[in-house]
């Protein structure tokens, strides 16, 4: 497969998406088919690229000597690409049904499809400059989605998201510059581009720059000090919160951190330093902080958003382990969490779409009225908890294995944090399902009004996600072998 298709995969959704509001659609059906068509085509192309991976790189554009926008698909990139390519068509299908309630549909789908292209750009970036370029574009393209409903609070949420992302990008920029000046190349090379000889006396500075760069990228991955924007972004329509703030955008932050840690700064220089300790401590704190805030949150989507904050720090915890096992745990959780979280967000979206109820205490007794939705919500809740036999357990297992292999007080604290957050997840996820299914015998069901399960467009993605969760849970080697040789190639 020639390298040019890499660029086609990235540009197709960008151009296709831009076309949606421009082309005068006679009826909504045609627009839906076109949008789904563009997304499916890109996913097909992405999967083709992953299967027979082109070896070389393709430079789309060259600013100056080192600064160029170029794409190359390597093992770790293909994991993220596969994840995004699998989830996007289903999410688009889901959002067709959801968007019937909202207005400015065409502009919404334009940005929705363009974000797909930008995320592919991030996963296939060949060097840090391209990654930074698409990282900034991601902010630009997702802000209108967050502000879609244009209420006062949506605009305020959009603005907070903007400041946080641009602030993060500004600090990540410092990291990029350090690499452009001191690294021998900006391209992603397993084992890092810095060599101790060149650095010499600048090790302390390098560590500081690494921490700044890591924090810059983890603004998008909602690590502790910068996680306030994610729950606020819950005000956006569900397809946005589900796909972007549970899967694409936040995973892009985590993926960028994987790239920076394993492929740019190189774990050899970073292991055992104070930088690693500080970042591990931060991630551990976020894991527990995210869960405890989720417990306190009564708004359904904000509760799931806080749970995303804590689950993302699982991935970052794996990344800061800086060992092959750590990378494996991180990638494994990235994939598993994406599936679990998007399923629970879509269930929440279906409930909101059908009953306009967004608060947890309003959901009592709905289990009987919308059985499939709540059954799948319980399944995804149990998966998030880490019940063995579902995906959550698989990724927790590898993360804990990496932490134990690492040894040291901090990693044991990490495992303890994982356990505490699993317990808290159980409390805030199962709490909802139990109240939905067993509201107590004195509950008047007709008070819920005429409510039933949503249409097939919403249920199909949900069922597929649930099937994937159970499949990976029971046959984890499908996923872990794949990630195993990805990690092997990265070290």
């Amino acid at each position: 497969m020639r390298e040019v298709f890499l660029v086609v995969a990235v540009l197709l959704p960008l151009i296709g998406g831009a076309g949606i509001p421009v082309i005068p659609w006679k009826k909504r059906g045609a627009m839906m088919i076109y949008t789904e068509g563009v997304v499916l085509l890109t996913s097909a192309l992405a999967f083709l690229l992953i299967l027979n991976r082109p070896a070389g790189a393709f430079t789309l554009f060259r600013f100056t000597g080192q600064l160029s926008i170029s794409f190359r698909l390597d093992a770790v990139g293909s994991v993220f690409t596969a994840l995004v390519a699998f989830l996007w068509p289903l999410a688009t299908l889901y959002s067709f049904e959801y968007m019937t309630h909202e207005k400015h549909e065409r502009v919404f789908f334009m940005f929705y499809v363009m974000t797909y292209g930008v995320t592919l750009g991030i996963s296939m970036a060949e060097d840090l400059v391209t990654l930074y370029f698409f990282y900034e574009m991601l902010t630009l393209v997702t802000v209108p989605l967050v502000m879609h409903t244009l209420t006062k609070e949506a605009i305020r949420a959009g603005r907070t998201y903007l400041w946080y992302s641009l602030g993060g990008a500004a600090f990540a920029f410092i990291g990029m510059i350090f690499i452009l000046v001191y690294g021998n190349t900006a391209d992603f090379t397993p084992g890092g581009v810095l060599d101790a000889a060149v650095l010499g006396d600048k090790r302390g500075l390098m560590l500081l720059i690494y921490v700044i760069c890591f924090c810059g990228f983890s603004v998008k991955a909602a690590m502790f000090p910068f996680s306030a924007w994610l729950p606020k972004a819950g005000v956006a329509p569900t397809p946005v919160t589900a796909l972007l703030h549970a899967v694409a955008v936040v995973k892009a932050g985590a993926f960028a951190n994987i790239r920076v840690t394993y492929f740019i700064f190189g774990t050899a220089l970073l292991r055992g330093t104070w930088a690693q300790k500080v970042l591990t401590a931060l991630t551990i704190f976020t894991v527990v902080y995210g869960c405890s805030r989720a417990l306190k949150e009564t708004h359904l989507k904000r509760r799931l958003a806080w749970s995303t904050v804590s689950n993302l720090s699982y991935i970052l915890f794996g990344v800061t382990m800086m060992s092959p096992l750590g990378l494996m745990g991180a990638l494994c959780h990235m994939v598993c969490h994406a599936v679990m979280k998007i399923c629970s967000f879509f269930c929440a979206g279906a409930v909101i779409y059908r009953t306009e109820r967004t608060y947890v205490h309003q959901l009592d007794g709905l289990g009987r009225k919308m059985p499939t939705v709540f059954l799948l919500f319980t399944v995804s809740g149990m998966a998030l908890m880490g019940v063995p036999g579902l995906t959550g357990f698989v990724s927790k297992w590898y993360l804990a294995k990496a932490a134990v292999a690492e040894g040291g007080l901090l990693s044991y604290l990490g495992i303890a944090a994982l356990m505490i957050s699993a317990l808290l997840t159980a409390v805030y996820m199962l709490g909802i399902s139990v109240r939905a299914f067993f509201p107590g015998q004195d509950f008047r069901y007709d008070s819920l009004g005429e409510v039933s399960d949503p249409g097939w467009k919403m249920l199909l993605p949900l069922c597929i996600f649930a099937a994937v969760m159970v499949l990976i849970g029971l046959r984890p080697e499908l996923l872990t072998d794949l990630i195993g040789d990805v990690v092997y190639s990265a070290f």
């Binding site: 317990l423 139990v434 872990t480």
Partner: protein, 502 residues
């Protein structure tokens, strides 16, 4: 064979659950008031038949030669596989006996409660999980079914379901999950320093690695003890038992306190004797703390039960203290103590099941839940009260019953465990707790048979006829008497086990 019985139970459970869902949906359309009772007979025959089928296959597996069966591969190529060893056999037989008794007992009781299909659905799911637990051949399979059993038994506690029933069930769920995650923390650390996780008598710990990270391993084992101990109602995480039992329907609380609590014990046995190996823990701080925790729970449980007014809540506190007898026995690492623990386990399961059955019958007949309300009940319900009295004798530890033998071996083991003051403190606490047990169990039967002047004017006028519920009650009580009178065979079987693992 074991897997066959498990699948039968699983299928039955899922079938019943879908049936209850379908019924709800159709019911949802019409108003709640007149819940139709048609087809009750058919339901009971179906559940009875499935129960017997599952019981027969399970017993066949228990006594037949079990070979390893692998269902599928969980994480890191670790198989979810079953192989029945001696300890597993004891627990399997116990589970089957109790579960069948409770199933037949609950026919009459659940009609009055309602939501029967959902109850039986989860009843069978829990049964499947329990059998799987007994047969699990490695720690990960065990943990897999341990979580599955917690999730299935939670709806049992809800039963008919009122607001406080849901709260109690959630409390039960979160306590057991907290315990499970503490245990998972231990499993992760153990997995690294012992080659494989399959159970092997005497432990699989690889000595070099064990020596290297000795301290963290001790912490891990202690975490697992406290975690699994939560399920067994040990001191730090025991609070869910007294809240879950009174609200749960009688058959559920009978099953809960007889068998599900024992899973905690089984888990402790598996980790201590089959993964870590007793001599790794002998004489360490873990053993000392474990002993003290067990003794505290024994004393705490009986004291609270003595002060408790509600009948079922009192029995729940007694479960807390009795189960800690078993844990105390296991913590001593001596053959007699182990034998005493197993016997106490059997006795307690049967007796506590009987006691909760009587509680169920009393509440069903009289509608009263306080212990001293049953004044002069002996005249009307002599049969049940006699069953209750024999069972409580065994629990207190009066000679001819099984309870006495268990406690005797426990004290014997504790005395020659050679742990200094702890081994003397043990028997003393057991004695005090025996007195307290008598203090909170016997007054009910005394006041029931010899009411003295004040004649309680309550309850049904005509005398009680022997129906299915009293029959199952007597079946269980006689069984516990049988063990008490002829313990020889069981003791020989248990000594065989303890030689292998100690």
């Amino acid at each position: 064979m074991l897997v066959l019985s498990m699948t039968v139970a699983l299928l039955a459970g899922i079938l019943l659950l879908t049936a209850s869902f379908a019924e709800h949906l159709s019911q949802g359309k019409r108003s709640e008031a007149e819940a139709p009772d048609r087809g009750d007979g058919k339901l009971h025959i179906f559940t009875g038949g499935v129960m017997i089928l599952a019981a027969v296959t399970a017993l066949a597996a228990a006594f037949g030669e079990g070979r390893e069966t692998i269902l599928f591969y969980l994480v890191d190529r670790i198989p979810v596989s079953f192989r029945l060893d001696d300890v597993g056999r004891i627990f399997l037989v116990l589970t089957v006996v109790i579960w069948t008794a409770v199933c037949f007992y609950s026919f009459k009781y659940m009609r009055h409660e309602g939501e029967e299909k959902r109850f039986y659905g989860f009843f069978f799911l829990a049964y499947a999980a329990l059998i799987a637990l007994d047969g699990a051949s490695n720690l990960i399979t065990f943990y897999f079914f341990f979580e599955f059993m917690t999730l299935c038994s939670m709806p049992l506690v809800i039963g008919r379901g009122g607001r406080e029933a849901v709260m109690a069930a959630l409390k039960y769920l979160f306590y057991s999950l907290a315990g499970a995650y503490l245990a998972l923390f231990g499993i992760f650390i153990l997995y690294q320093s012992c080659g494989s996780v399959t159970f092997r008598a005497g432990g699989v710990l690889n000595p070099a690695l064990a020596q290297q990270n000795h301290r963290i391993l001790l912490v891990a084992v202690f975490a697992m003890l406290v975690g699994f101990g939560a399920k067994a109602g040990m001191f730090p995480l025991h609070a869910w038992l007294p809240t879950a039992h009174p609200i749960a329907p009688a058959p559920a609380s009978a099953a809960l306190s007889a068998i599900i609590v024992k899973c905690g014990v089984l888990a402790v046995i598996r980790t201590v004797y089959f993964i870590v190996g007793p001599n790794f823990l002998r004489g360490t701080w873990v053993q000392k703390v474990w002993l003290t925790l067990a003794l505290i729970t024994v004393f705490l449980g009986s004291m609270l039960a003595f002060l408790e007014k509600g009948f079922k809540k009192r029995l729940a506190y007694s479960t807390v203290s009795q189960v800690s007898y078993i844990l105390f026995g296991l913590a001593l690492f001596t053959p007699q103590a182990f034998a005493g623990a197993i016997l106490q386990l059997l006795a307690h399961a049967l007796v506590k099941c009987a006691l909760f059955m009587t509680a169920g019958i009393f509440i069903l007949r009289t509608g009263k839940t306080q212990a001293e309300d049953y004044i002069g009940i002996g005249k009307k319900m002599g049969l049940t009260l006699w069953g209750y009295t024999i069972a409580s004798l065994s629990l207190i530890g009066i000679p001819p019953t099984a309870g006495f033998i268990g406690k005797w071996y426990l004290c014997q083991g504790s005395l020659d465990a050679g742990l200094g003051d702890l081994s003397y403190l043990g028997p003393a606490v057991l004695l005090v707790s025996a007195i307290l047990t008598a203090g909170y169990l016997l007054p009910v039967s005394i006041r029931g048979f010899l009411p003295g002047r004040e004649e309680g004017d309550w309850g049904p006028k005509e005398r009680e006829k022997a129906d299915l519920m009293t029959l199952t009650l007597w079946f269980v009580t006689l069984l516990s008497l049988l063990i008490g009178l002829f313990p020889g065979r069981i003791l020989a079987f248990v000594n065989g086990i303890s030689d292998a693992i100690l």
